[in-house]
Amino acid sequence: MVSVVYEAPDLIEGAVNLLAKSDIPAHVLAGGTDLIIQTNNSSDAERLIVDVKKIAGMTDANLTDAALELGPSMSCASFTERDDIKAVYPGLVEAAYLIGSTQVQGRASVGGNLCNSSPAADTIPALIANGAQCVIAGPNGERTVPVEEFVTGVGQNCMEKGELLKQITVPRPAANTSDAYLRFIPRTEMDIAVAGAGVSVTLDDTGTCTAARVAIGAVAPTALLVPEAADALVGSKLDEAALQAAADAASAASNPITDRRGTVEYRRQVVGVLVKRAASIAAERAKEG
């Protein structure tokens, strides 16, 4: 059994210092729904676990006129209860709501989902669709990385030793903009995405799409931003031809694997369908907004 050293600093600097100076494998603890299982199954002799939930701001969300400043360790249960956030980013909130059971929601967090960096993470396409940025604190100060560049491979991300995700900043969408996230799973709930799609669209007064972001998940080693799919939507009234072009672009950009949840061919097909449907839902929401 792995011997755990537990620290719960109350300042970012303290956490960074612990992570940077550790001579044993060091891990950040948010909700623990991935980390505790990984620790129980670990072959490490020792592990440093740095619980960041006592640091101010890590478990809160602040919605300003400019952006959502999301504490990465805020539980999905707390996050999805925030009606003010749901009104602005309904797709991001629905992505967070899809993670796990009620019990898992009580602990799991958007930042944890991002840092665990699973290809099938539900919140990542929704964050990318919203142009979210990762604020990373480290021994050499802070840096900001767009979510689409944060995850670098299966279970891997751009954070170096000593670095810590301090905040997820989601800019306020422009007027007449909304988002949606859809995933496909064979069951009705509590499953891992076979494919997922997060879409944000902006419409003008005539219902023409003036801007879009399309991101797909579970169909490549990392979630992907697909500018070609967004380009297919921009300038259209999201008619069938434009939606199909976006779907085809998403299918073409995907690079899935075959596993017990789905085949390459199936995932390519389904991710296009999800992009189409998510774009339609986002457009309906943008009209209502």
Binding site: M1, V2, S3, V4, V5, Y6, A8, L29, G31, G32, T33, I36, I37, T39, N40, R47, I49, D51, K53, S75, A77, G100, S101, T102, Q103, V104, G106, R107, E189, M190
Partner: protein, 159 residues
């Protein structure tokens, strides 16, 4: 390995314990505090048998470190009934025969209490969604859901 001293509150009572920093809250409850009402099923957050509340939130105690209980308020199955008798939810589980082996039952009862505090009048669908993280391998869910909805009705009448 040095043990960590933790001061917490369990079912409203102040509790102190020593634990290894890698021990889960479930380990601490069952092995150190002899509160064996909380069951271990999968140990990986899938089955809900170890459900407890932490600061009012329903969580799997197998996915919480014991040291994280410092300063928190924990609620377990032992705090549901009282010396005067069973809680309505417990009575309804018995009445509807909503258990066989009983391993899922404490988790289901803790989860049902959390559900009814959030939503005293759930639809069947809402109850099934909320309790989807509590797996039962023998009774099946129909009797459980009947017990939950009957408990909800009885609690609303009593409120």
């Amino acid at each position: 390995m040095s043990k960590t001293h933790v001061t917490t509150s369990i079912n409203g009572e102040p509790v102190e314990f020593l634990c290894d920093p890698g021990d889960t809250l479930l380990d601490v409850l069952r092995n150190d505090l002899q509160m064996t009402g909380t069951k271990e099923g999968c140990g990986s957050g899938d089955c809900g048998a170890c459900s407890v509340t932490m600061n009012g939130r329903l969580v799997c105690s197998c996915l919480v470190l014991g040291v994280e209980a410092e300063g928190a308020e924990i609620g377990t199955i032992e705090g549901i009934g009282s010396n005067d008798g069973l809680h309505v939810i417990q009575e309804k589980f018995l009445e509807h025969a909503a258990l066989q082996c009983g391993v899922c039952t404490p988790g289901l009862i803790v989860s049902t209490k959390a559900l009814l505090e959030e939503n005293p009048n759930p639809t069947e669908e809402e109850a099934r969604y909320y309790l989807a993280g509590n797996l039962c391998r023998c009774t099946g869910y129909d009797k459980i859901i009947r017990a939950v909805l009957d408990a909800a009705e009885t609690m609303r009448e009593g409120a």
